[in-house]
Symmetry: C2
Subunit: 253 residues, 2 copies
């Protein structure tokens, strides 16, 4: 098993690795929203790249059956039902609903990797479950941080580093780490006792605090809140029927 | 002052930062060779992308006045005078000579950044001097690791992290670090007491050991051997006349 991590979000080359698992991560906040929403009983999530596409896709469904969610410049989009705070995506709102989501980095990342075969949705909320799934599937892994408008993201890389740390500790046979995945593991080791410290050092974390979303940093730093492993396939994120709903994240207060 | 580091070698966008210093790093081994050769009195270095170009450029000069150096798959190129071990580039061979150099990653990196205005050549041999120059110039900095055939390079990033560490400690006014440059600094802090450990963990370090160049790892881990700050301008690497020649690296034995 080889684990690689791609630090900048451009389309990877699946022909080089036809049979691997890709784990998409956007801790602040898209994949945290997705994992939490699915754990709260959302039916499915359709990640789209643009606001226009979100409204367009919504027209196909009954208005009551869907929710429009996401952000631009961290803020809720005019005409949308929900913003991009995981705490908004609770069972009372999302259970049984189809979500159409568009965010600056996270939802675009799914389109960059869409030609891959196995695509999982990861955040600190479910990284233990992702590691367990990766052990069962036993394929090479590409961790795909969504980045920050094309740039390296500290918090996403640390989250990827948590997956690497869990796998190197749990797997009995050896794992090959690239230079990049060694780097991610070292970053995780540096911050694992205080993920919030890392969030507050990161560019995007500072931006969220500046815009009044500091509470979301506390929320998104919670680890292993759910056993849910959402999968992205044919443009839609779903959870297999055998998986149970998880716990709701704690309020940050 | 902002310090950024670009983890993968693709052309940066100088129009976004028209006035900054770029520091190119290929610790194993191209920029270590360059810094050492210049400290040993080489007249200038012409980095070229291909072997064919090296032979072509050589035709312009008297054969005695030039040396062809570099590697493919870590080995000396047939018909070349020197390989890619810094220890080969000693005064007895290089003093007063013009070098034409081609390597897998390092010399290509110079062509990727060639539209930038201030381009410095860095390695562990001269990172203290590079830091001093950056403090004097007082511009934004882009650290440009040459990478490993397009991939993230652990050893180059750690060397960039040393520059960040030196500048954040020496500069009195604050420095803005991107997520990527914070990552590089953390990697340097993790390995600064044992750079060789990092080299032996890195993909390229392992490759060099496998091919019999393990001694070069010991050589390239030596810090602050010279005050030389080579500059790349108009396709040529030179050292300004005011700089003195530095020390020769120690033998690894």
């Amino acid at each position: 098993m080889q684990i690689d991590i791609q630090f900048q979000p451009f389309p990877p080359n699946p022909s080089l690795h036809p049979d691997r698992v890709v784990v998409v991560i956007d801790v602040l906040r898209a994949t945290s929203v997705m994992v939490h929403a699915m754990s709260q009983g959302a039916l499915e999530i359709i990640p789209v790249a643009t606001v226009e596409e979100a409204f367009q896709r919504a027209q196909v469904f009954l208005r009551d059956a869907i929710l429009l969610g996401g952000e631009r410049k961290s803020e809720k989009i005019p005409g949308f039902d929900l913003g991009n705070s995981p705490r908004e995506y609770i069972a009372e709102k999302v259970k049984g609903k189809r979500l159409i989501l568009t965010t600056t980095n996270g939802t675009k990342a799914f389109h960059l990797v869409s030609s891959e075969s196995d695509i999982l949705v990861g955040s600190f909320f479910n990284m233990g479950a992702i590691a367990q799934r990766c052990l069962e599937v036993n394929k090479d892994i590409l961790i795909f941080p969504s980045g920050d408008e094309g740039n390296f993201s500290l918090e996403d890389t640390i989250c990827g580093g948590m997956l690497i740390e869990l796998l190197t500790k749990k797997r009995e046979s050896p794992i090959t780490l690239t230079d990049a995945s060694q780097c991610a593991q070292i970053l995780y080791q540096r911050f694992k006792a205080n993920l919030l410290e890392a969030f507050h050092l990161s560019y995007h974390g500072k931006e969220l605090v500046r815009r009044g979303f500091g509470e979301d940093l506390v929320t998104c730093a919670q680890i292993d809140m759910t056993e849910i492993v959402p999968e992205f396939k044919d443009g839609v994120i779903r959870v297999s029927q055998t998986q149970k709903a998880g716990c709701r994240v704690q309020n940050a207060e």
